[in-house]
Amino acid sequence: MQTRQTRTAYLLIAPALLLFIGFTAYPFIWSAQISFTSWDGLNAVKKFVGFQNYIQLFQDAEFRQSISVTTIYTVSVTLISTILGFAIALMLQRRKRSSAIYRTIFFSPVVTAPVAAAVVWQLLFDPYVGIIDIGLRALHLPAPNWLSDTRWALPAVIIVGIWKRLGFAVIVYAAGMSSLPVSCFEAADLDGVSGWQKIRYMTIPLMRPVTTLVLITGFIDAIQVFDHIFLLTSGGPIGSTNVMSLFLYNQGFRLFRLGYASAIGWTLFTVILGLTVLQWQIRRRGES
């Protein structure tokens, strides 16, 4: 009986398992193997080079620049979208009647195709016809050439990153807040606790698991950013928006250095894994 059940269980997980092996596990191991070669993706011969790709990577100034760009991007997008998401969810909680419409509006960037969104943002940032610069000029403020200026390109792609991420944070926080015990807040009202105190001493601590979720998923999402930066700036100008995944793509698919690109991929994976474990540890310590 049990063997039959076990067999059925294996049969049921087989399709997912096969897909996982074929499209995740196998390429994963294969890329590790490739990272020790100087393979160009086309040549019939894959020359073994040992740790040379990894050694070269840590001496590569472009890689170091991409780490700092990725760090600034990831921290800014994750923190700002989380704080804004929390604030907006709080506001929506007070406007219960119209909150469904607002939630839909805030969530729409999450489900918008990245390419379509990037094209729209490119127009918005355009120095000649873009609404942002037209607005800034109308207010007699300096109107930067967003995507072409080394000082403004990274803030521009961070703005787009926050715009894309915000909806998720709002929805998750809104769902979390709707499940908070109403009686506690009513009791606090009776005790004359102010609105700010309720947020500071009740909502924020009660929302801590949600905050952890939003931060961790936001962090993993942001550190892997590729599409809108590829479309808006291609990593420029002068590498000011050259994030790690873009650096990887360029090395692998524009410069034919698949071995080197695989080494970048594995380094990126190790960094994400390490930081995620660290986040979980901090969270666990916080809980205990």
């Binding site: 100087s38 040549n43 050439n145 072409s148 692998g252 524009r254 410069l255």
Partner: protein, 425 residues
């Protein structure tokens, strides 16, 4: 008599039977040959070029009942990764057309069909195709691809802005000094209008746009054996200084994203003949073209672009169909029609002198500059490390356009980076 008649009848009947059976046999054999084969043709020709290709392909399919060629179009940046994946996984298409800049790498894949052998010898396969174009297809004595199109860079200018700036719209600049003066006059119109649009984004785009300035000033890019850079010279520095000054001294150009000329926000830019059709249809201004201006005492030079068509090793029937298509597509009459539809440049004298082409050029004056200039087009180094070399070169030059480093320093950095990249593959 009767006997003779009978034996004659039996001989005849045997003959008829034999004929019938032989006929059936050959019909069966013929059926085997024309067993329908469908092959994919990967390319990156989109828009009008894609439509022109589809029209030609359906014509080929109609003429060759057993063969169906299916065009599959990818964005330019996606085609190479797709081909790399296909080569690695053994799922290549039967046919592909790729950028000439990728050919050195494609040649090493070991997956390309020897077209010389398949088309009855290299001489027969290539005819009078320009030898400079053939360098991309030859690898270790074998012909692995044929030119599918070629093009070059010339000067595009906005006649409306020329008029507004008080310049003669029918007298485009011929020298760097005239180009600089025109750029300054146009940028003085204000409202963010650039006199000249310069490509400064790193990558092959920057390299291929800058190489003509190098060659015109007498500098080279790599040495004859493609083993060392030759751009870090007084001539090379003068070329870079000219563009950097346009941006940072004359303020007649902006270091930034590409696209101002298309919107009517820049007076001039250098670009390829494939833009002619699009501008004729959509440009919100009147445009003209001219041969690239050259420096005082300089030489005429432009960059050569284009695509190579190739067949991948596979099943005999698919391979044969692919070779048949290549033979047809690279034939002079088809190439002439392809060039008319796309505004690409002819790949041989036969194509260039065909009535179809001569008529087309007469009807589209903007093409004249490109045709006149094709003979000055120089090929980029056909070496496997070229993508890495070009990337290193462009990244070292980019900060100079933004005024972050001096011209001499940028070229010295480029020299070191290119030497390193040459050793990378």
């Amino acid at each position: 008599m009767k006997r003779t008649q009978r034996s004659l009848a039996s001989i005849l009947s045997l003959a008829v039977l034999a004929t019938v059976s032989l006929g059936t046999g050959s019909a069966i054999a013929a059926n085997k040959v024309v067993k329908p084969v469908t092959i994919q043709f990967w390319n990156y020709w989109d828009g009008g070029n894609g439509k022109a290709l589809s029209a030609l392909i359906s014509e080929f399919n109609k003429k060759n009942p057993g063969i169906t060629v299916k065009p599959v179009t990818f964005p330019w940046g996606d085609l190479l990764p797709k081909l790399q994946t296909a080569i690695a996984s053994g799922t290549t298409p039967a046919l592909a057309a790729t950028d000439i800049a990728w050919m050195a790498n494609m040649n090493q894949s070991g997956k390309l069909v020897d077209l010389g052998a398949a088309l009855g010898g290299i001489k027969k396969a290539t005819g009078d195709i320009y030898p400079s174009l053939l360098t991309y297809g030859l690898y270790k004595g074998k012909l692995q691809s044929l030119p599918a199109s070629t093009n070059n860079l010339s000067l595009f200018y906005n006649k409306d802005l020329f008029r507004k700036a008080g310049l003669n719209p029918n007298k485009p600049p011929k020298t760097w000094a005239e180009m600089r003066a025109a750029a300054i006059a146009i940028s003085n119109l204000g409202n963010g209008i650039q006199g000249m649009e310069i490509y400064v984004q790193p990558g092959e785009g920057l390299t291929w746009q800058f190489q003509p300035y190098l060659w015109q000033s007498g500098a080279g890019f790599l040495n004859k054996t493609n083993t060392a850079p030759t751009f870090n010279s007084a001539a090379g520095r003068s070329a870079l200084q000219f563009l950097v000054d346009l941006i940072n001294v004359d303020r007649a150009a902006t270091a930034g994203q590409w696209g101002a000329f298309d919107k009517g926000q820049a007076g001039m830019r250098i670009d390829g003949s494939w833009m002619v059709g699009g501008y004729r249809e959509n440009a919100p201004f009147e445009f003209g073209t001219a041969m690239l201006p050259i420096p005082e005492g300089g030489v005429r030079a432009t960059n050569m672009g284009g695509e190579q068509i190739m067949a991948f090793k596979g099943k005999a029937a698919s391979q044969a169909a692919a070779v048949k298509f290549i033979r047809w597509f690279t034939s002079a009459p088809i190439q002439a029609r392809w060039d008319v539809a796309t505004n690409f440049m002819p790949i041989s004298d036969t194509v260039a002198n065909s009535t179809v082409i001569l008529k087309h050029v007469a009807s589209e004056p903007a093409l004249k500059a490109f045709i006149d200039q094709q003979k000055y087009a120089q090929a980029r180094p056909a070496i496997a490390s070229y993508p890495a070399v070009s990337d290193a070169f462009s990244k070292a030059l980019e900060p100079a356009f933004y005024g972050r480093v001096g011209v001499a320093e940028a070229l010295a950095n480029a020299d070191a980076a290119v030497r390193k990249a040459l050793k990378s593959n």
